[in-house]
């Protein structure tokens, strides 16, 4: 029997709807109106522009290839590190998420310092990667950048979705490890994997820094690099309208692909909880050869993807001039002094405040939309929240400035709104892989036993959602800390974010200072990541005490996906 919606439900729907209109619909409409300022002439101009087809093809190719590589890589790392027999498992778990802490533009730049002609490996071993500047290099760096996101989401997914009883049943019935993975574990992870594919797809659609740094020299343009080029010439109104038209084009591409996927495919991927709480997969206590080989491969990957580029970056940060050997006689702290002036420190503090605020607000909004996805209209809301993510920051900021600049121009609130609009989907997609796993039977049991709704939510739902909540918070926080374009367009005196400080040194062409600031930023985030990491470990391993406290309310063999 269907209950009529309660006041709380109505309030939730109203709040989500209001936020959606304010953060997504209004800015996008303001942008779309710019597109038609010259009666749609820009559309013809943009479509006829030489090189548009190639740029669109490059964008779509990257957006399809990167998820195909990054999601399996991230998921495989998560599944591998779930085994208890992997040597140095704790260290490896930290190492594989490191690229998430490094901003994309720093990652791209550090790869050029490490692997390009006369870079770190060329100077030391005479080894360079000539394809780095071009599509292969872009794909490699974007995959390295995106894989930790998949790793984190899969790990959170395993914590909320895994069914050890089903897996053990499969193993007892004679299924091998691969068959169990294919027939039990992966089907349970489908919504999480789908969220990872969608997020990596849209993140690649809107990626700019890596295609610009690595593609520019090869004449490899994408829609976002064309938008940048148009904006550089946009003191001419035509160029500005063209840039906005291209940005709206990205939104259309994302909508056309995501809307059917979200509305039709989304519900089919869900799998209800069977009632058993997951636990770590027990493996033999001794380290077998396969686990050791896997751990070594993972170490090698981390060294190549993050280790060497970081060493090259450090080298640039401590060397007094470009082109001199990074030997101790040429070391200096001047670059750090130049990078860490007072305004940079203030900027770091502003960024920390803004990023934390955005992460808290979006975790709530993410849960809200993910919870509403049980309804068809809710699924459309999920797609809508994704659209602002693909709009390049510079154009989204214009939409927000036109819509709210009159009231909020120059205030921190406008930058916060921009972060909320841009990163909503990161929180929502992370949560959507967890909310369908809320243990309803236990909820009803708690309520029937007299627990108030708030108590039941805190004791039943919150523990189930905790890994995903923390994952969403961390992902939004890091993305907001790394955000460059919107903050540099919306800031005013006194509320410069880190982006402004980074742009200052980058624009001056000061490689040493940029490297030093990147090192400081990465180190800072690393320090901030330690408490988050400890909390993460606590939440993803809190299952056993929970099971003792509240035994499964239903038999474990209710087939996944049957409801």
């Amino acid at each position: 029997m269907r209950r009529p919606p309660r006041t709380a439900d109505r309030l939730a729907i109203g709040a989500a709807g209001l936020a959606m209109v304010a953060l997504v619909v209004v800015p996008l409409i303001r942008l779309a109106r710019i597109m038609f300022e010259d009666d749609g002439a820009s559309l013809g101009r943009v479509m006829r522009a030489p090189g548009l087809g190639a740029a669109a093809l490059h964008t779509l190719t990257l957006a399809c290839v990167v998820p195909l590589l990054a999601v399996p890589l991230g998921a495989a790392m998560a599944l591998f590190l779930r085994r208890t027999d992997v040597p140095a498992r704790r260290l490896l778990r930290v190492v594989v998420v490191l690229p998430l802490i490094i901003p994309q533009f720093v990652l791209g730049y550090s790869w050029t310092q490490a692997y390009s002609r006369k870079g770190f490996t060329d100077s030391l071993f005479g080894v360079q990667w000539t394809a780095l500047h071009g599509p292969l290099g872009i794909i490699a760096v974007l995959v390295v950048d995106a894989a930790p996101l998949s790793y984190l989401l899969t790990t959170a997914g395993l914590a909320t979705r895994a069914e050890p009883a089903l897996e053990q049943a499969a193993r007892v019935s004679g299924a091998g490890g691969w068959t169990t993975l294919r027939t039990v574990t992966l089907p349970l992870l489908r919504p999480v994997l789908a969220a990872e594919v969608v997020l990596t797809f849209v993140a690649t659609l809107e990626s700019f820094a890596v295609p610009q740094v690595l593609g520019g020299p090869a004449g490899f343009s994408t829609l976002t690099t064309r938008i940048y080029a148009d904006l550089s010439l946009a003191s001419q109104p035509d160029s500005f309208v063209d840039a906005v038209t291209l940005a709206v084009g990205l939104v259309v591409i994302a909508a056309v692909i995501l809307l059917p996927a979200d509305v039709v495919l989304g519900p089919k991927l869900r799998a209800a909880r069977t009632g058993a709480h997951p636990a770590a997969v027990a493996s033999p206590a001794h380290h077998n050869g396969r686990a050791i080989a896997g751990a070594l491969a993972l170490m090698g990957y981390a060294a190549a993807a993050v280790g060497l580029p970081t060493v090259a970056l450090l080298g640039a940060a401590v060397t007094k001039a470009i082109g001199v050997a990074p030997t101790p006689s040429n070391w200096t702290l001047n670059n750090f002094r130049a990078a860490l002036n007072n305004s940079a420190i203030d900027a770091i503090a502003t960024s920390l405040r803004l990023a934390a605020g955005a992460a808290f607000a979006l975790t709530v909004l993410g849960v809200l939309v993910a919870a509403l996805e049980r309804r068809r209209a809710g699924r459309a809301l999920g797609t809508l929240a994704t659209l602002t993510f693909v709009v390049p920051g510079s154009t989204l900021a214009v939409g927000l400035l036109i819509a709210y600049g009159h009231w909020l121009g120059g205030s921190l609130a406008l930058i916060l709104l921009a972060y909320l609009a841009k990163f909503w989907t990161l929180a929502h997609r992370t949560m959507s892989g967890a909310v369908d796993r809320l243990p309803r039977a236990e909820w009803h049991a708690a309520r029937a036993s007299g627990a108030a709704p708030a108590v039941a939510a805190r004791t039943i739902w919150l523990p189930s959602l905790a890994p995903a909540l923390l994952g969403a918070w961390v992902i939004v926080f890091l993305s907001a800390m790394h955000e460059v374009t919107m903050s540099s367009l919306l800031y005013s005196v006194g509320n410069q974010t880190l982006a402004v400080a980074v742009l200052n040194s980058q624009e001056l062409g000061d490689v040493g200072a940029t490297a030093a600031l990147s090192v400081v930023l990465t180190a800072l985030l690393l320090v901030a990541a330690v408490p988050a990491w400890l909390a993460w470990r606590l939440m993803t391993s809190r299952r056993r005490p929970m099971r003792r406290r509240m035994p499964a309310a239903r038999p474990a063999l209710e087939v996944a996906g049957a409801r």
Binding site: S235, G409, S411, A413, E507
Partner: protein, 339 residues
Amino acid sequence: MTVPTMTLRTLTPRTMTQRSGRVLLAALVASLLAAACSSKPSASSMTLYTCASANVEQAVVTAFEKAHAGAKVTVFRAPTGQLNARVAADVRSGGVQADVIWSCDPLTMHGYDSQGLLRAWSPPNASDIPSAYRTAHFTGVDLLYMVVVVHKGVSSPASWADLTKADYRGKVALPSPSFAASALGLLGYFASNPSYGIAYYKQLKANGAVQVNAPADTLTGVEQGAYNAGFTLANAAYTDQKKGSPIEVVWPRPGAVAIYAPIGVTTKKHLSPLAQKFATFVASSAGQQVMAAQGTYVTLPGLGGPPIPAGSPIASPDWPALFANYTSVLADYATVFGS
């Protein structure tokens, strides 16, 4: 012991949530009000939009505020693309907010001028500034020189054309004109020079020249030895050379290409009385000396700044002509090096 017990009773999760909700709401309303109230500038304040580098802009603004007691300059500083986006948003939401715009290249200023955003005004000492660096609506206050930089030990080219010779095959880097305005200025100069034209870029390409993003990337590449020679900006090259980078700076024939950074007063409805004072200060000898001390070339002659070797030829693109046809020039370029 009574008080702590009461406190514990009072702060149930529910009331805590309600209370923090109210605090959040109050904070939001307060910040909105504060933002709304702070948007009206006073007579002693003005807004500057600029893409000048942070050290130069900050030094000039500080010196101006010191010279004009009580004056307050609110600065929005961003790369050209962001600056354009901000101006475009302003124009669509009540008009440009800046009293003064100080851009990094003449093309950007021509664009604003074509939208009617700049008023006809020149600083009192405009006639002291070479006429190639000013129009009726904006005046050049500082300069970038596009020159050639070579790795130490590599033979220096005498002219730009020398870089198409076999000695430099596969070893030249040039910045992308769709990324950097200075590179677009250089392209505009060559495209309109009958001895060079777009054919020059075709010869460079045929000789294995490589396109990078910004002039700073060219410089880094030459310093590291990835390239033997590259087109870059003279002030940045001299700064790095002073730090110890192994490079030489060459001012090739027919001339280092000058890209001037203009300042202009906007057509904002309620223009701050400080607007003209600020622009006058930046173009004045006092303002120009502050900029020169920051390692910038200035337009007022004889005030110092980074080195210019004696007898170095200097060339200027025809900016109004380039503004009229840069789209087709860029399209021609894209057929050679890609966009």
